[in-house]
């Protein structure tokens, strides 16, 4: 049933074509395909495929990012129908992310932000040179599940520790998890400062964020 339709959906994700993906999502609803089935049989296999291809070096980062965007576009179309039926779409969680005070390295942080968002997290990107307190305030404001702190300098790494402490002070932990990363950061450092997770790259950041939320 609907094999051709599912293939087209899969392909729209692989192509990284948000408009096409949302058209196909509408079409699926017209054809009476259940929204969850459309997601799981149509769109998700596309995302899985492109993820594998990226790991193999066959596709490039922007391909991966656009596949995530296409996924989001499709889900946005299917969402109202899912709500009507009482079926839940998987919401991965809210992440507050930034490069810590004194540090202007933004590229790695932005990649982490982009991939988290492409994977279905809601990301609040605070930018670079972010004061410690700002992480805590934002986490409280948006009821974040995860706070991600990037630091590319051995000096500003200390700020990651301060963010952990600030979240403690605000009584936001252990509910809010902290993940850290950046060139000088190691797993040992993450453990030492009491962070909940470390990721060597943006793919690892997504994996650790998922696992912390058991998603």
């Amino acid at each position: 049933m609907h094999e051709e339709q599912f293939n087209a959906m899969r392909q729209s994700i692989v192509d990284g074509a948000p408009e096409h993906a949302s058209e196909l999502a509408s079409k699926a609803l017209e054809l009476g395909i259940a929204p969850l089935e459309a997601i799981n049989k149509g769109f998700v296999p596309g995302l899985t495929h492109i993820g594998e291809q990226f790991r193999l070096g066959e596709v490039f980062l922007p391909d991966l990012v656009m596949a995530g965007e296409a996924m989001k576009a499709a889900v946005a179309v299917l969402e109202p129908e899912m709500q009507k039926r009482g079926t839940q779409r998987e919401i991965l969680g809210k992440v507050v992310l930034g490069t810590v005070k004194g540090d202007i390295h933004e590229i790695g942080k932005t990649l982490v932000s982009t991939l988290l968002s492409a994977s279905g997290f809601q990301v609040f990107d605070l930018g670079v040179d972010v004061p410690v307190e700002r992480f805590a305030e934002k986490a409280r404001e948006v009821q974040a599940d995860i706070v991600g702190v990037s630091a590319l300098l051995t000096t500003t790494m200390q700020g990651q520790k301060s963010v952990v402490e600030a979240l403690d002070r605000h009584g936001l932990r252990p509910k809010v998890k902290v993940i850290v990363g950046g060139a000088p950061v190691t797993r040992d450092w993450a453990e030492k400062i009491g962070a909940d997770g470390y990721g060597q790259d943006a793919m690892a950041a997504v994996a650790i964020a998922r696992s912390l939320l058991h998603k």
């Binding site: 990226f54 070096g57 490039f60 980062l61 922007p62 004194g102 202007i104 933004e106 590229i107 790695g108 932005t110 990649l111 300098l153 051995t154 000096t155 790494m157 200390q158 060139a183 000088p184 790259d201 943006a202």
Partner: protein, 486 residues
């Protein structure tokens, strides 16, 4: 070097220049420093939204007409050793590696201050390393003022010019104070600068507070600043080389304008690299991809300005075949393109790891390149027609004075092996290039010592480090004593 190989035509350089001008007039940049904003506003740039600045082309023309076409770095003894102009090329290491591959053990570990000391001594000894940077970031000193300890260690262990990096402006001010103590005052340092500050700028369109502060401080003091906006294609700029370079070059022109407004004739060194892109498969920032090589150098030559270029880095994690090949190709192409200050010899793993073994290999490669690119002398003496006639068809040249007179002009390797098979086994025990290079490093460390700083100067330098410690309200660490560098 004789002349430079131009990757871009003059016309292409003009196109890039015009593109940068259009970016500055149409898109504009953000400046995060009040003094810089005031300077450009007064000069006629349009400032909106607090710090968004659009520059008329005439400000750029003006700056290009007053920025010095040549800057000469001196050594610690005040001798002019690096005239940054024309086809002159000078190689040296990179800075601030977070890891070192120990040449003794092959272990990859966190570096300590002693590694900075050793790297500096090795650079001081290696003939083709023309300048020094702090190859490593020492983990055993207070991190927020590690730059002071690095600078002190370099002053003690080399007489070659120093290209330095500091986190904040205060670190730059301290470094200059130390350099003045060594040179014998501010005027002496300005007349014969033996240090130059490498300033990284967020992107061509975003000029961070520290970068502008340092630029203004150095320009005010008439000291050389390396003002280097970095664009990473695909993330902070277009993935195409032309777009990436036009964008970073817009930032370069901003730096020139601000420095010249601060002090006409202030020495600025512009980047001899640009147009690079992030590796969009691994998300690693590569240091030696082939694509944009030579473009930024061509542009710097078009402006006839001194440049800070790249050469000698590798993405490899080890001192292996890839490391040798990438470093060699990169140094060769960048030398052919006429980069002036060529940094990053000894860099591995995209600037995260450094190796003195790799540095020694780079030194060997540079000596090879120098010989390959040297101008050729054609004269009666080198044509040797009389000698040829004297020997004729039946003789040989081995015993001639002419041969002995000139034979040492040829390149002879120090590290590269040219023995026959048994000689290679007997003399070196059949070792690899990396093993021989590591031994060269050990030998240098066992024997080489540069001219020490005088005791009074060493003490003055030490006080500046201590002051930085005191400002943080901390007890000084042992390394602040000049003696530990002996």
């Amino acid at each position: 070097m004789n002349s430079v190989w131009a990757r871009l035509t003059q016309e292409q350089c003009r196109q890039l220049h015009n593109a940068s001008l259009e970016i500055l007039e149409r898109t504009g940049v953000r400046l995060f420093n009040d003094e810089a904003l005031a300077l450009v506003r007064e000069a006629g740039a349009k400032v909106t939204d607090g710090n968004r600045v659009r520059f008329p082309a005439r400000l750029v023309d003006q700056a290009l007409s007053t920025a010095p076409k040549s800057v000469t770095l001196h050594d610690r003894m005040g001798r002019p050793v690096m005239p940054l102009e024309g086809a002159n090329t000078f190689f040296g290491p990179g800075s601030d590696c977070l890891n070192i591959i120990d040449h003794r053990t092959g272990e990859r570990r966190r570096p300590v201050l002693q590694d900075v000391v050793e790297a500096t001594r090795v650079c001081d000894a290696l003939k083709e390393m023309s300048f020094v940077m702090s190859m490593f970031l020492p983990a055993d000193v207070p991190q927020d003022i590690a730059d002071r300890y690095q600078f002190q260690a370099m002053l003690h262990n080399t007489i070659k010019p120093i290209v330095f990096v500091t986190y904040e402006t205060a670190g730059c001010v301290d470094a200059i104070a130390m350099a003045e103590a060594v040179a014998g005052g501010a005027d002496a340092l300005r007349e014969r600068p033996f240090v130059a500050c490498y300033i990284n700028v967020t992107t061509g369109l975003l000029h961070n507070a520290d970068a502008l502060e340092k630029l203004l401080f150095l320009a005010g003091a008439g000291l050389p600043a390396l003002y280097i906006p970095v664009v990473s294609g695909g993330t902070t700029g277009p993935v195409t080389m032309a777009g990436g370079l036009a964008l970073s070059n817009a930032g370069v022109l901003v730096g020139l304008v601000i420095s010249q407004l601060k002090r006409e004739g202030a020495p600025v060194v512009i980047p001899g690299f640009g147009g690079d892109a992030l590796d969009l498969r691994t998300m690693v920032d590569p240091y030696c991809g082939p694509d944009p090589r030579g473009m930024a150098q061509a542009l710097a030559h078009f402006y006839q300005l001194p440049m800070f270029s790249l050469g000698g880095a590798s993405e490899s994690k080890l001192v292996d075949q890839q490391a040798s090949i990438e470093a060699a190709l990169d140094m060769l192409i960048n030398a052919l393109c006429g980069g002036h200050i060529m940094h990053d010899c000894g860099y591995l793993e995209s600037g995260l790891t450094g190796s003195l073994t790799q540095l020694a290999i780079c030194n060997e490669v540079v000596s090879w390149i120098r010989h390959a690119c040297q101008p050729v002398e054609i004269s009666a003496e080198t044509l040797a027609l009389d000698v040829i006639d004297q020997v004729g068809p039946d003789g040989q040249f081995l015993k001639l004075p002419h041969t002995r007179r000139h034979m040492r002009e040829r390149w002879y390797p120090i590290l590269f092996d040219r023995d026959n098979y048994n000689g290679w086994l007997a003399k070196g025990g059949g070792r690899t290039l990396a093993e021989r290079a590591a031994e060269q490093v050990s030998q240098i460390l066992a024997s080489h010592q540069c001219e020490p700083l005088g005791p009074a100067v060493a003490e003055a330098v030490r006080r500046i480090v201590l002051r930085a410690e005191a400002q943080l309200g901390r007890e000084p660490l042992a390394p602040a004593s000049g003696g530990s560098y002996a």
